[in-house]
C-alpha cells in the first residue's frame, strides 16, 4: 500500500475542504422552508448548498467540468415591487382611523412594506441563472439578483477559464476546444 496514488487518495480523504461563501439567498428565504441556498467557492469546485428544513443538500460543480452559465432576464422583481407597493398602499388605510394607535400601526406597516419595496428596488432586477455541466443543469438561486450575478461572474468566470485552459494544456490531443 505504498503507491503514491493511494496515499494521495488517503490525504484528500481526511483533509477538510475549506469553503468561502460567495453568494446566498436573501433573509426572507430563511423563513421559507426549502428556499434557502448558498454558493461556496472551493479549491477546484463550486459548492451549492441547499437547506431543506432538516437536511442540507450539496451539489458540486468542478471548474474543469462547467460547460456553460446561462442567464435570462425575469420579471419577478417587477411583480415583487407591485406586491410590496400594493401592501404599502393598503397600510395607508390605517390612517383613516383617526386614532393614535391606528397611526402607530399604520406607521409600522408602512415602514415594513416600504422597507421591503426599497430593498427590492435596491437589489436590482432578477434573472434566472443556470449552471451546466455534462452531468447536471442546476438553477443558482443565490445569484439571481443583478448585483450578485455581476459579482459571481467576476469571481467565478476567470477561475473556470483558467482551470479549463490548464486542463487543455495538459491534454492537448483529447481536448480541442471549438469555442
Amino acid at each position: 500500500m505504498s503507491d503514491p496514488a493511494i496515499s494521495r487518495g488517503r490525504e484528500t480523504a481526511t483533509r477538510p475542504i475549506p469553503y468561502k461563501k460567495i453568494a446566498t439567498t436573501g433573509w426572507i428565504s430563511r423563513l421559507l422552508p426549502g428556499s434557502r441556498s448558498e454558493i461556496y467557492l472551493g479549491g477546484d469546485h463550486l459548492l451549492h448548498a441547499k437547506q431543506i428544513i432538516l437536511f442540507e443538500k450539496y451539489r458540486r460543480f468542478y471548474f474543469s467540468d462547467i460547460e456553460a452559465i446561462s442567464f435570462s432576464k425575469s420579471n419577478r422583481w417587477i411583480w415583487l415591487s407591485v406586491v410590496w407597493g400594493f401592501l404599502l398602499f393598503c397600510s395607508l388605510f390605517w390612517y383613516l382611523g383617526h386614532q393614535t394607535w391606528c397611526y402607530i400601526v399604520g406607521a409600522l406597516f408602512c415602514l415594513v412594506f416600504g422597507g421591503l419595496l426599497l430593498l427590492n428596488l435596491i437589489a436590482g432586477r432578477t434573472y434566472v441563472v443556470n449552471i451546466q455541466t455534462a452531468a447536471q443543469i442546476r438553477r443558482l438561486r443565490p445569484v439571481e439578483r443583478e448585483n450578485q450575478l455581476i459579482k459571481f461572474q467576476q469571481t467565478v468566470v476567470p477561475i473556470i477559464v483558467q482551470a479549463q485552459q490548464t486542463q487543455q494544456a495538459q491534454q492537448p490531443n483529447t481536448n480541442e476546444a471549438a469555442v
Binding site: D3, T12, K21, L54, V129, T174, N175, A177, V179
Partner: protein, 201 residues
C-alpha cells in the same frame, strides 16, 4: 460532445450563434432575453470511445482483462481502462471505490447531504407551542429536543461553516420549556387542591 447550452426559462437548446455574446439575445423558442457564457468544456469529447485492446506485454484493466490499463484508481490502486476510469474532481477512481465512498459518506468529497440536528431540535421546541400540543406533551418534547442537541453537537458535520448558536438556543429553550411545563402542571395541581369547588371536585 455535449448537446449544447440551454435556455434557463424554456430549457430548449440555444443556437451556437448566441454563445458568448456581450449582450442579451432573445431565445428562439420563448423570446426571453438570454445570455450564455460557454466554456471550452462543452466541446470536450465524452468517454464513449471503446477502450484500447491490450497487448500481451501490457497491463490489463482490473474489470476488463482484454482492455489496456490507462490509469490507476487513486483510492484502491487498481489498473483501470478508459471505460472504468471515472474522474471525480481531480482524482481518478474506479466505480467500486465511488460506490463504497458514497455509501460510507465519511469523506467530505463524497458527502452530498447532512442532517441538521439543530433545526430538528428547534422544530421540536417551536411546533408544539404553536400547535398547543405543548400543554400535554411539553416535557416529552423538551427532553427529546435536549437529547437531540446533545447527540447532534458532535454528530452534525456540515461541509460548510455553520455556527453552533442554534444548538445553544435549542438547549436553552428546551430547559425553559421543560421547567415551564413542570411549573404549569404544579400551578394547575395547586389551584385544584386549593380551590376544589371551582373545579367541580
Amino acid at each position: 460532445m455535449s448537446a449544447g447550452a440551454f435556455c434557463p426559462i424554456c430549457h430548449r437548446l440555444l443556437a451556437t450563434s448566441q454563445w458568448n455574446l456581450p449582450d442579451f439575445t432573445a431565445c428562439p423558442n420563448c423570446q426571453a432575453p438570454t445570455r450564455t457564457l460557454v466554456f471550452p468544456a462543452i466541446a470536450r469529447a465524452t468517454s464513449s470511445a471503446r477502450p484500447a485492446q491490450r497487448n500481451e506485454t501490457e497491463a490489463g484493466c482490473f474489470f476488463h482483462r482484454n482492455s489496456r490499463a490507462e490509469n490507476l484508481c487513486a483510492s484502491c490502486g487498481r489498473f483501470l481502462c478508459s471505460l472504468c476510469t471515472l474522474a471525480f474532481g481531480t482524482q481518478k477512481l474506479c466505480p467500486d471505490c465511488i460506490y463504497r465512498k458514497h455509501r460510507q459518506a465519511s469523506e467530505p468529497l463524497f458527502q452530498d447531504q447532512t442532517i441538521l440536528f439543530d433545526n430538528i431540535a428547534l422544530l421540536l421546541l417551536v411546533v408544539p407551542v404553536l400547535c398547543f400540543v405543548y400543554i400535554y406533551f411539553g416535557l416529552i418534547f423538551s427532553a427529546f429536543a435536549l437529547a437531540i442537541v446533545i447527540i447532534g453537537w458532535r454528530r452534525q458535520r456540515p461541509l460548510v461553516p455553520r455556527s453552533k448558536y442554534r444548538f445553544v438556543l435549542a438547549a436553552g429553550l428546551s430547559l425553559i420549556e421543560g421547567v415551564g411545563w413542570i411549573a404549569l402542571v404544579w400551578l394547575v395541581v395547586w389551584l385544584i387542591q386549593s380551590h376544589p369547588t371551582d373545579f367541580g371536585l
